[in-house]
């Protein structure tokens, strides 16, 4: 059985391209947590006036699968329309795009970023 831990996954998890914290330009955020393992993720987004996702960043404290999934998700959705997130985020397709075989329990690690991203909401004004 091939290992889950090919170098590509490990590199993406150890050096995520879209890792970052809140900046002044960010307009939206969302948080997610997996109670069974403690994986936590916060997503920061800058949404343009035309409802386009101008930038996405994530701060993930979790396993390699969760972190890599979050990073690939941000890569995929940056530049897309915010409205497409509702009903357009196909969890099964995202898992398949990771190119790894995941057990049902481990799929929750991969989909936590998806659930979080779907819950993007505007930042409170005082927090900007």
């Amino acid at each position: 059985m091939p290992s889950l831990y090919e170098q590509e996954l490990i590199n993406r998890a150890k050096s995520p391209v879209f890792f970052g914290c809140q900046s002044q330009d960010d307009t939206h955020t969302a948080e997610g947590k997996n109670l069974s393992c403690g994986d936590e993720i916060t997503i920061w987004a800058k949404i343009g006036g035309d409802e386009k996702i101008l930038s996405l960043k994530h701060e993930t404290r979790g396993c390699a699968v969760c972190t890599a999934s979050a990073d690939l998700l941000c890569e995929k959705w940056q530049g897309k329309a915010l409205g497409d997130l509702i009903g357009g985020l196909d969890f099964a397709h995202h898992i398949a795009s990771l190119g790894i075989s995941l057990s049902p329990l481990r799929q929750k690690c991969a989909t936590l970023p998806c659930e979080t991203l779907q819950n993007l909401h505007p930042l409170p004004i005082e927090s900007k």
Partner: protein
Amino acid sequence: MLRQEFSIFREQPNLVYLDYAATTPLPDVVVKAVLQASVKRAPIQRSLYPLAGQATAAVQESRTAIANFFSAKLEEVIFQSSATQALHQVILGLEAQIRPSDLLITSTREHHSLLAPLLKLASRTGAKLKYIEIDEKGEFEDNKFAQAKLVALSLTSNVTGAQLSLDSLSKLKTQQGRGGFLLLDCCQSASHSGLDFSSLPADFAICAGHKLYGPSGVAILLGRERALNTLDPLLSGGGNLVSLAHSEVQYRPLPEKLEAGSPNQEAIIGLAAALNWLTPHLPVSHKPLRAIYEVLAQESAVRIISPYSEYSGLLAFTVNGIHAHDVAEFFGEKEICVRAGQHCASLFHQDIPEAATVRISTGLGSTEADALRISVALKQLLETFHAQPL
């Protein structure tokens, strides 16, 4: 060798199973007992024909065997479907006894199945819930136990393996007296050293059948008769009533009072077979765990959360820079079965830097050779993830 008494280890000889704290593999003799009970099953205490009489007798004999294992009286042994149900029966079964002025005591190292009903009880009754500190050796200070209507603790932590001091528990119970109840979750205790309920300083003790080399679907709630009789049954109707009129019900005496519903006869009979099989192997050797502990202790990237305990057969650790899930998944690819996550003890994990831990728990199919497999897998893990020392 004991491993040969388990089909799973004969079918998968390279399997290193280190998740006994979650559930134990079934010895062949237990599988056989369950199968026989399934073939001969019939209504228990409900029908008059011989087959039903034989099935009822088999369950009664199993209760006797289980009571003997725990050094308990027959009426002190209550069958429940799970330890979670048993915990709910005790905690929520006391609701009518609890006043807003009452004090409930627990700790942050407890399993969710103990904390969740306790939180519900506190919310419903207005009673105050207090969390006490328990150190890594299982010691705790005097915490107004005399005023506590209910103290609910796990005898052995399912994360660290630290066991509560029996001396401290005795003092606690002496202070509490008959004015309150002490509930001990013993799910991680009995499979390593047995459990003598007759001398345990507690009103209630709970064990899960599937953690005692028995089948799923049965747990044992042990209780002093006086304490059990204060509990309101959470379930009513199927077998625990002596009468039902238009405006009232009357319950049968213990143990049936708290055993509504058709009993899981296959699981009960299987559990009796499991305890019969387990008894000559107690206490379980912790040499396999000790050997694993020494392997982990030598690795600078590993932090062992728990102190090594002779009595519990489990320990928790983390690896610097590698999430517990990744450690467990990587080990799983090497046919080494460990548990990772928060182990249904999220409050405990809020008190430590790591969000998740890896848990290793040994049992009767474990050998000292498991440590070598851990050692090899750990080295491969660290190379793959380029882990750094702490």
